[in-house]
């Protein structure tokens, strides 16, 4: 069992404030992803949970007990970092055995062998067990790092961007494997990343961090479809959600850019007032009779789809279109949006008006 709660955590490093009154609840067995840019405070949060940083104020509750003053060894957590931090001259087996041979543990040789073999099988590194770590590829090393964390069977895994240093295809593979591992172990995973694809594809819950505060917590689909503000709206999705300023007039959005009038289905916000409209690229579509016109600024070809960047009086708008769509740079196109997919944000503070 491992519920984790952070209450009002603040942490400064000299003049820099890393965390500002952070509150966070992570349930036992959850795969919780902390998503944020560099400097948002996600690594500090992880280190506070691990006991590697003592917060200036606030408390860390693990399983209902105040663990704020516990040291790292007392917390039953395992940490996996982006850098592998393995012993290069030891074999894979030696690295995996290492945490079990610590003097605070009392395992028999047979128990150690059994555990190492089982972990190796789980991570598909059995045939690497007798190899020196320095002779492994990046993906193999990261598997061994994860293996070394698992072998102690901790209740909480803390992972700090463990996939960032790997190439794209290997990341795809290890994402799936980590999720499978989570299902098998049933342990609590706290996973830190700046990569929204990792957050969306792995998390039971995503916590979006900005400037040392938690902005929103939700399932991936909640974060994607019901962002609390424009910051969250733009932190998930590739390309990010389009934000277009304009005026609300009845069932119509009058864009500042191009003065185009686009249809709305359930308008939110003051009629006649200023609104920041949000629309995801997959909800913008080319339409010969569409109410808006843009010039093709860029075409990004993904093979399966194309992402157009449309320029409207200097405002850039992304539209995801089918791979078969043939367009030229600087061509002028008419387009529309799906009115039921439009989100409405307060133009001053960015809040989602649909959630008020």
């Amino acid at each position: 069992m491992a519920d984790i709660s952070l209450h009002g955590i603040s942490k400064k490093f000299g003049p820099n404030t890393a965390l500002r009154g952070l509150d966070l609840d992570i349930k036992d067995g959850e795969f919780f992803v902390l998503l944020g840019q560099t400097g948002a405070g996600k690594t500090t949060t992880l280190r506070v949970i691990a006991g590697l940083e003592i917060p200036d104020s606030g408390s860390v509750i693990i399983n209902g007990q105040n663990a704020t003053k516990w040291n790292a060894a007392e917390r039953d957590v395992a940490l996996v970092l982006q850098q592998y931090s393995l012993y290069p001259r030891m074999t894979v087996r030696g690295n995996l055995e290492f945490p079990l041979k610590s003097r605070t543990q009392n395992f028999t040789a047979a128990e150690i062998t059994e555990r190492v073999d089982r972990v190796a099988a789980t991570l598909q590194i059995t045939k690497l067990l007798d190899r020196k770590v320095e002779r492994l590829s990046g993906g193999e090393m990261q598997r061994v790092s994860i293996g070394r964390a698992i072998v102690r069977q901790p209740h909480v895994f803390l992972m700090d961007e463990p996939l960032s240093a790997l190439d794209a295809n290997l990341r795809d593979v290890l994402r799936v494997e980590l999720k499978k591992l989570h299902n098998e172990l049933g342990a609590t995973f706290v996973f830190v990343t700046h990569d929204q694809v990792e957050a969306m594809s792995m998390g039971d819950k995503i916590g979006v961090l900005n400037k040392g505060k938690l902005v929103q917590v939700g399932t991936p689909s909640e974060i994607y479809a019901k962002p609390i503000n424009t910051f969250v709206a733009r932190s998930v999705g590739t390309p990010p959600m389009n934000l277009v300023d304009g005026t609300l007039k009845g069932n119509t959005a009058i864009w500042d850019a191009g003065k185009f009038a686009l249809p709305l289905s359930t308008p939110k916000g003051p009629n006649g007032g200023r609104v920041r409209f949000g629309i995801r690229p997959e909800d913008v579509f080319l339409d010969q009779n569409g109410p808006a016109t843009g010039r093709v600024f860029d075409v990004e070809n993904h093979g399966v789809i194309k992402i157009l960047t449309l320029d409207i009086d200097g405002v850039h708008l992304h539209a995801t279109v089918s791979a078969q769509t043939k367009v030229q740079i600087d061509e002028t196109l008419k387009f529309n949006w799906k009115p039921e997919k439009v989100l409405y944000f307060n133009i001053e503070n960015g809040r989602n008006l649909g959630l008020d």
Binding site: S221, P281, H302, G303, T309, A323
Partner: protein
């Protein structure tokens, strides 16, 4: 303006052969992207065209003239690197004008040329600044400006966007493409980023282990990869690959009891294949249904990646995990029963031993 011909070019570094009988014609005004992993030979090929690297054998022609023995400076080609390599003590104006001073252009013409290129690249306001005062994107614009100001025969770029953040990369990529359209200069661009290659290139050249794998327009490379390396290198998520057995008109994946019926004509070309076959199918060509459907095989979902705009759903069929691209929310979770089929029109069959696409189904 220039056509570039690479003929039978080989290059050794000591005993290591990094280019193996490379043949390629780059048409006048064409934008060619060399794509591959590090060590594939793409940068060496680019440097050989530029004259920054000699060739061990073979010829390089620019507009029909053999240049393989000429110095870089005598080839009239401009080069942009990943590192910006600007002169830190000179202003932007002096940096851009530098190649023109070298050819002793008079001051009035020089100013005119610098101004024109700076306008095109939207860096006019920075002309009197030092490079250290610029952002990464502006520094790379200056480097491109310096390369273009001489109006070279060809512009060669080696991962010019490699060190920029993703937003700036997208912006600069569009600018490079637009600049190419405006100027029409023959361009050769090296990258390991397949999206960059797909988005910029008139034709993509894929190099691996010093061997040219395929040359073709982006859509052709994506839809008709010549071999397994190209098939797996282009496209994300990576193309599904599985050992496969063909039983009449039924395609059976490794270890799966049930197979997929393919139109017989689509498999005819494979009948004579003596070797083992590998099936390649992109996630968008793996079709899922909720209900039992004719021709579809019942499978269990093993993983869902909800990406917002779409989902990637993994299903297990025999010993193969197949990834399918579905609309968002199509499958609600793992451990669900769904029915899967493959789109024969988008299926590829490769010779397992050689990796060559046997052009069976398409």
């Amino acid at each position: 303006m220039a056509q570039i011909d690479i003929r039978n070019v080989e290059k050794f570094f000591g005993n290591l052969q990094v280019l193996k009988n490379l043949n390629l014609t780059i048409a006048d005004g064409e934008f060619v992207v060399m794509l591959g992993q590090s060590g594939g030979g793409k940068t060496t090929a680019l440097r050989a065209i530029a004259g920054l690297e000699t060739v061990s054998s073979g010829k390089i022609l620019i507009n029909g003239n053999e240049v393989q023995d000429r110095k870089a400076a005598d080839r009239d080609i401009a080069f942009v690197f990943q590192s910006f390599s600007l002169y830190p003590h000179m202003t932007v104006r002096e940096n851009i004008a530098f190649p023109l001073r070298a050819i002793r252009m008079n001051a009035a013409d020089r100013d005119k040329a610098v101004k024109e290129v700076a306008d095109t690249l939207q860096i006019s306001e920075h002309l009197d600044r030092k490079p250290s005062a610029l952002s990464g994107g502006d520094m790379q614009r200056v480097a491109i400006g310096r390369a273009l100001v001489r109006r070279p025969q060809a512009l060669l770029m080696d991962e010019p966007l490699g060190v920029l953040d993703s937003k700036l990369r997208e912006q600069m990529r569009a600018e490079i493409k637009r600049l190419h359209i405006a100027r029409g200069s023959t361009s050769v661009y090296v990258t390991h980023d397949q999206i960059e290659a797909m988005s910029l290139a008139d034709r993509i050249v894929i190099l691996h282990d010093g061997v040219l794998q395929q040359v073709g327009p982006p859509d052709e490379v994506y839809l008709h990869p010549t071999n397994l390396f190209v098939a797996k290198f282009v496209g994300s998520p990576v193309m599904n690959v599985s050992d496969v057995r063909i039983d009449g008109a039924t395609v059976k994946l490794n270890g799966a009891e049930n197979g997929f019926r393919f139109p017989e004509a689509s498999l005819a070309a494979l009948a004579s294949a003596k070797s083992d076959l590998t099936l390649g199918i992109r996630p968008e060509a793996v079709l899922l249904e909720h209900k039992k459907t004719k021709g579809f095989v019942e499978v269990e979902t093993t993983n869902i990646e909800p990406l917002g705009s779409h989902d990637i759903v993994d299903v297990r069929l025999g010993e193969t995990a197949l990834r399918a691209r579905t609309e968002s929310g199509f499958v609600s979770g793992e451990g669900q029963l769904v029915w899967v089929n493959l789109d024969p029109a988008q299926a590829h069959f490769f010779d397992t031993a050689t990796g060559l696409n046997l052009r069976g189904a398409n």
